[in-house]
Amino acid sequence: MKYSANSVWENKDAYDIVVVGAGHAGCEAALACARLGLKTIVFTVSVESIAMMPCNPNIGGTSKGHLVRELDALGGEMGKNIDKTFIQSKMLNKSKGPAVHSLRAQADKNKYSNTMRQTLENQENLEIRQGEVVNILVEDSSVTGVQTYSGAIYRCKAVVLCTGTYLKARCIYGDVSTHTGPNGLQAANYLTDCLKELGIKMYRFKTGTPARIDKRSIDFSKMEEQFGDERVVPFSFTTNPEDVQIEQTSCWLTYTNPTTHEIIRKNLDRSPLYSGMIEGTGPRYCPSIEDKIVKFADKERHQVFIEPEGLETNEMYIGGMSSSLPEDVQYEMYRSVPGLEHAKIVKNAYAIEYDCIDARQLHPTLEFKSIHGLFSGGQFNGSSGYEEAAAQGLIAGINAALEVLGREQLILDRSQAYIGVLIDDLVTKESHEPYRMMTSRAEYRLLLRQDNADQRLTEIGHKIGLISDERYQMLLDKEEIIRKEIHRLEHTNVGTSREITDFLTNCGSTPLTSGSTLAELIKRPELNYELLEPIDHMRTESFSREIMEQIDINIKYEGYIKRQLKQVEQFKKLETRKIPADIDYDAVPSLRIEAVQKLKQFRPLSIGQASRISGVSPADISVLLVYLGH
């Protein structure tokens, strides 16, 4: 649909930055820009849908929890917001190594959304405006403003697009299809054509959500109760850990069974996925229940998690059973699951299709290569998930602001943050499905832990201007304590005295036959810093859990950490070699034609980025290095 305005008028208020969309990406982008002192306006099709969670009712999870903590260390809002609004929290993978510990909290959805809305409303320099943006105004390949459906023009210096799943959105179940965004909200039908006219390549992706069921119709006695952690760890490094020790709500676990699977199989021909009605590409990591049954036919049951949507609603989210089957099949299918025999559906499960971009058109700063001042973040970039969206929104917002301020752009690399991995993957690799973060995507994950996100990124957040001096100083103090204490442990010897032998025997640890340092003892799987207190006579202070954890991790996994640090050193050598923007690849002798084409198309910013483009070989990289060596 191409937009044609009836009455055009120009809003005379001057803005530095326009953010399009107020979902998880848009909120972070808008807050970052406003907090950096830029006059910012954020558009949303509905003010009521600010920071809405249209799918699962939780924040975090494996690798996504990492993103939230990183975002927090850089000065983002998501971590603080979930700390204020969660109703259950769990550290996943606690029995595994520290690199894969991941925090996940159940959110009270309404409260989450309202709290974020208040934060936006009270933010200095930030205006919220309900309205659909239909045009991006561009002159000489530079953004000059946007136009809304009413015809109004808002001039600005940079635009951040965070349209989520709203562009030409279509919701589908069975043979029913509505042209709406998630949750029945109005879709944005005009912007796609404007973007295409600007030469931007679009994809069509698909995702889905399960039904919401009335709590009163569920028989929980047939399900297993899932509790939160006894001691809750907050997401934000600024939240006082004592403030999050609240009374928590339970989730519930039940299972599908052969009857469920039979019902689905029998009705597959009525699924829009198999009838060809859905054209978008769906994510493999979050398959619909019909996908799971087709693909993993030999599995006799699948888990179903029943999660509350909030404290003030009876709606329950049916995790694991997203679907686009017709309404009558949905009833039959859900009611075959133990505990859901009498389920009353509040909202149907549905699949949603939407327009997004091929993110390889972006620089790692999230600015379009072809349009100066146009940035984008979130599901619009082909990702999926609230956390992935928020992380990109923050970076896109920061870079839009830095550009307007004439400051150097922020690029986090793969060795610095999951956010770096996320964005590098998005802008470098070809993707045919919504991109989800996974810990296995991070090469240096031992270094990119959720527990040290503050040590990795607070300094950067401070430099940008989103982290206060006070918070930065607190981090420096914490690091100093950790460093000193580790040094002391590495230089404190314990012998083979009776006391030590008895202590170790009591801990189920082999007694020493010769002298050892306390650090050596901490390396033993059965021991840790806290346990050694009785034999550590020089210990004067008792540290917080967070600090003790850092001491343990750094000592226990020292060997592995050092190895990854060494790999990072090699990686950085390529990453820090910048390629001049005006490089003429045709003039580079001996570069293969395929490489020339790819490099011209991609215009990578560094040798490191160039090396990750498919079709560019190590030999091409060598050639480039020699050429740049001139």
Binding site: N56, T62, S63, L92, N93, S95, K96, G97, A99, V100, R284, Y285, C286, P287, K292, K295, F296, K299, H302, Q303, F305, G319, G320, S322, K429, M438, T439, S440, R441, R445, L446, P525, Y557, Y560, Q564, Q570, K573, L574, P589, S590, L591, R592, I607, S611, S614, S617, P618, A619, D620, I621, S622, V623, L625, V626, Y627, G629, H630
Partner: protein, 459 residues
Amino acid sequence: MGFKTDTIAAISTAMTNSGIGIVRLSGEDAFSIIDKIYKGKSPKLLSEQKSHTIHYGYIMDGEQTIDEVLVLLMRGPHSYTGEDTVEIDCHGGVFVTRKILETVIKYGARPAEPGEFSKRAFLNGRMDLSQAEAVIDIISSKNDYALQSSVNQLKGSVHNKIKEIREVILYHTAFIESALDDPEHISVDGYGDSLLGVVKDLQQKIQRLLDTADDGRIIKEGIKTVIVGKPNAGKSSLMNVLVGEEKAIVTEIAGTTRDVLEENIQLQGVSLNIMDTAGIRDTSDIVEKIGVDKAKENAEKADLIIYVVDASRPLDENDHEIIEMIRDKKAVILLNKSDLSTVVDKKALETLITKPMIDISAKEETGIHELESTLKEMFYHGDISFNDEVYITNIRHKTALADALSSLKKVAESIENQMPEDFFTIDLMDAYESLGSITGETIGEDLVNEIFSKFCMGK
């Protein structure tokens, strides 16, 4: 992958017999590596000696003496590459030079990429601008060639073995990763115990590949040698004698060998890549004809041809065809079946073609020693040689196998030390990557694809 500034090593003399062979090392660890393998009269370490000095001593691999050598020391930036550089001048045998290269690699160097010494020289400002383009040319042409030849050289069976090992590694990694990613759906608790067995088994498999690599069997390298002759001249028997095991099927029936068999043998430091071929004759049997055509094709490309003449039968038109075919090639003529009454006259044959001729009996294994000496002679006189690129890629294969093995050892260690499961996959993926460098495959999205295709993720 990619550009590194670690320590590289290469043989910088031609891979033929000459007075001396030179192995060159360049990079940060050049001095510390030579310290570990050099033994001289002076108790002083070479790293403590002055730059631009020459030292006489021995290259040692632990207790084993490899060769008597002269070592030249050049500290950066005053060297060809601008980095710390060590040159080892050894006795020129191919075997010895190669052994020294393997030793420096064992102690921490990495085989240099083609043109890499020049590249470093350039990047360190030791070369002027006009030379730069030439360097670029070398890098781009040689690298592609090296990669290509490296992959091409793998025998099908070895390629398949490496592929199998990679598949097993990927599967287990994907399982662990899917459980880490979706802990509420997939449990990996206690997985270490079963993984340990798998890892030990893989270690053995790689060790076996490495062992054969040491015999020079795994990777086809060396002088491309083709055995030709008319049917039933005894080519396959000769091949079996040279290889030392029954590889080729030997029967009384002419035309038994229809395909081309390949084996690698070492003759006192000379590496021969021997191919047995179908007997050359005019035939109407389609399968055999393909074999004959292949034989001719291979002979055309060969560095060396061993022409087996059945001395018990008179020369016929097939022999004449072969004589024409090998006229301009390096070749040795063997008069086989000397154990029977011979009818082919050596003198008469010499009027037709001038090549070294040896009487042998493949059946009785006589004359084989003479053949070996003749071949060695030809090699050391530079009559025949082979491409050193080919050799380098083989060292690279071996290094990659050794790397994969050491990664798997680390996995086993992590399991035995009761590390959490996520530590296993770090080294598993390293092993996967090392093996991939042999078959020319990179990781890409392999892991993510495997996770999604094999394991049902939640939500």
